[in-house]
């Protein structure tokens, strides 16, 4: 008799239902799959490594300027742009020329001290002009550039994008669905059955895993095919971390949605949770840019832990055993938020 009339166990039915509902929502599918691919593409192109690129130098237009340009072009390694005298500051500001030379004697270097690119260009121009004026090098250093795979910006970026995607789809996917079920009184209807409440919440988190498999494959696969971003460590470790991340942020999504009554309220809460992590957790730039005082806080954030661990596997080829701290931080967030959500959850 207890064959459930042809239905599968509740956890399976509930998880499948979440999965189907998601796939039938074209906008959601776009955000989950197309968004990270577009992002990887745009950033990959903007920050592609260009090998030894010529340094761009601006030269203020004048008779003397022509000679100066000739000198730099003879040295090689420079692209010269003529800049009108009134246009100098704007050219530096908008990045047309990181350094602009006003012909002397002595020449004047106009550049932006706050930009690394600008400083490097100033040094290169100075060296070339000094040499042209007859300065001799005291010695010639032996230069050995490294061309390590996995050290480009895109290699560093892709694990961060993967982490960010796991976070935002986890929070949105779970939070949105829960609040919708609450406003439609579907939650109330479900608690009027013998359904286990823990199983209902777990089904939302578990359905994340089904999407995750697809999301992660799309992102990692695309980055590999388009930019040659590889995985140094084992794919299995990468998969395990992605699963852990999805469970953690699914749990966080439950917590964020546990009391909210409206979509507006839950959207606000989600942004409140995600915004600091987008900035602090090293998605687009390293979190080590922030002062030491903030580091204990930043290191305790789940996205920091996930990004660090994903980079450990993808860029540095580390085994999971070397990522114990990050894994512990993720597991603590996941278990803690699931437990609190179960306790605080508003079913009606």
């Amino acid at each position: 008799m207890s064959d459930r009339g042809g239905a599968s166990p509740p956890l399976v039915e509930l998880t499948l239902a979440r999965f189907r509902e998601f796939l039938r929502e074209p906008e959601a599918v776009f955000w989950v799959f197309a968004f990270p691919v577009i992002m990887t593409c745009a950033l990959g192109i903007a920050f592609r490594s260009r090998g030894a690129e010529p340094v761009v130098v601006g030269i203020v237009e004048s008779a003397a300027g022509g000679r100066l340009a000739g000198m730099l072009e003879a040295d090689g390694g420079f692209t010269v742009r003529r800049i009108a005298p009134a246009d100098v500051e704007r050219a530096i500001r908008d990045g047309r020329a990181p350094v602009v030379v006003e012909p002397g004697p002595p020449p004047v270097y106009r550049f932006d001290q706050a930009r690394a690119e600008s400083q490097v260009a100033r040094l290169a121009v100075d060296r070339a002009l000094q040499r042209a004026a007859g300065r001799l090098d005291a010695f010639t250093a032996d230069e050995r550039p490294i061309a390590a795979v996995g050290s480009r910006y895109i290699d560093w970026l892709v694990p961060g994008l993967l982490g960010m995607n796991i976070m935002s789809t986890g929070l949105w996917g779970v939070g949105f669905a829960i609040v919708q079920a609450r406003t439609k009184k579907l939650l109330k209807r479900l608690v009027a059955t013998p359904m286990s409440r823990a199983e209902y919440l777990a089904s939302h988190v578990l359905s994340r895993l089904l999407f995750l498999a697809m999301e992660a494959t799309v992102i990692v696969g695309f980055a590999w095919a388009a930019f040659g971003v590889g995985v140094e460590g084992s794919l299995l470790s990468l998969a395990a971390l992605a699963v852990l991340g999805a469970l953690t942020f699914g749990g966080l999504g439950l917590l964020v949605a546990s009391r909210a009554r409206t979509i507006e309220a839950v959207s606000g809460l989600m942004n409140l949770v995600m915004l600091p992590m987008w900035v602090l957790s090293g998605v687009f730039f390293a979190s080590s840019n922030f002062p030491d005082l903030m580091q204990p806080f930043i290191q305790a954030l789940p996205l920091t832990a996930l990004n660090d661990a994903l980079r450990g596997v993808m860029n540095d080829g580390l085994p999971l055993t070397a990522l114990g701290k990050d894994i512990a931080v993720l597991a603590a967030w996941g278990a803690g938020s699931f437990g609190l959500a179960l306790r605080w959850f508003r079913w009606q």
């Binding site: 009339g5 509930l14 039938r24 009184k185 579907l186 059955t193």
Partner: protein, 297 residues
């Protein structure tokens, strides 16, 4: 008893529903029907009073009650983007025993809609699906909160048939409704609620008989309205109401009252501007008890 900050939703309701019975709670908007039924369903806690369902209490036997009850709520919207079959599978999966999904589809005659999205169903089909979900565990007791509100007469009749088959198996239904004809057609006994209390209880026939008149005559006259005392003296008349220039008489002897009324009006040198008669219904019971209509038309 259930209190909300600015209103006492249900106060002092004493009610017994027997097994195998179909019981209807009838009342206007805000009467406390939903509050009452949700307390019985264990979805709301009462502030005072004792509730027993199938001889069990919500404090000690919650899990067992959940297995043995079927519930349909007034406001639930099932997931739009799941199909009818998928929705039923979910509800069915919560119960160890019960009909198969196919049997449930047959009971509510939605077999042809099995693969349609819930969001694409008509109002009546959605309500039948909601009832099918409530039947998923082969409940002994079925709670329905306004199952037919907003449906066209044909859809209502289809749903009545479903409930009729459920009752034929000797199981119990407690439903709420705005519709007198629905209570008449489905219920063995009816409780009429107003402002959180039960103002009448009995079989539909008993309740109609309780106003002492099987017929109602509604009319309006030209000129000044006649005094109600004079009307009360007409043969057969039990009760007189004046409502905004419209008069209504409750009578037990229609064939005597109407000719006497015509003579009376003619004798005053006035004329009838309208005259309608109908058999007394639960609506008239409600009017005679409260002086108001069930539905504010």
């Amino acid at each position: 008893m259930k209190r909300y900050p600015d209103v006492v939703a249900v106060a002092g309701l004493d009610l017994d529903v027997g097994r195998g019975e179909c019981f209807g709670l009838l009342g206007p908007n805000g009467a406390g029907k939903t509050t009452t039924i949700e307390i019985l369903e264990g979805l709301l806690d009462q502030d005072e009073g004792d509730v027993r369902v199938l001889g069990l209490s919500w404090h000690g036997d919650r899990a067992e009650l959940r297995r043995r009850l079927g519930v349909q709520l007034q406001e639930t919207q099932l997931a739009d983007k799941l199909t009818v079959g998928e929705t039923l599978r979910i509800f069915r999966s919560f119960f160890a025993d019960g009909p198969t999904v196919d049997e449930l589809l047959d009971v509510v005659e939605l077999g042809a809609k099995r693969a349609s999205w819930v969001g694409k169903l008509s109002g009546g089909q959605k309500q039948r699906l909601a009832v099918a979900c409530a039947l998923a565990g082969r409940p002994e007791l079925l709670f329905l909160d306004e199952p037919t509100t907003g449906l066209d007469p044909q859809s209502r009749r289809q749903l009545w048939d479903v409930l009729g088959r459920f009752r034929a198996e000797g199981r119990t239904i407690l439903l709420t409704t705005h519709y007198m004809d629905e209570a008449h057609a489905l219920c063995d006994r009816v409780g009429i609620m107003d402002k959180g209390t039960l103002i009448a209880l009995g079989t539909p026939r008993e309740l109609v008989a309780s106003i002492g008149a099987e017929h109602v005559v509604e009319f309006a006259v030209t000129g000044a309205a006649p005094a109600s005392d004079a009307l009360r003296a007409l043969p057969g008349v039990r009760d007189v109401r004046v409502d905004d220039g419209r008069l209504s008489l409750a009578t037990s002897e229609l064939h005597e009252t109407v000719p006497a009324l015509l003579d009376f009006v003619r004798g005053r040198g006035a004329a009838l501007s309208s005259l309608v008669t109908h058999s007394a219904t639960l609506e008239d019971v409600f009017v005679s008890l409260t002086g108001r209509h069930l539905r504010d038309e």
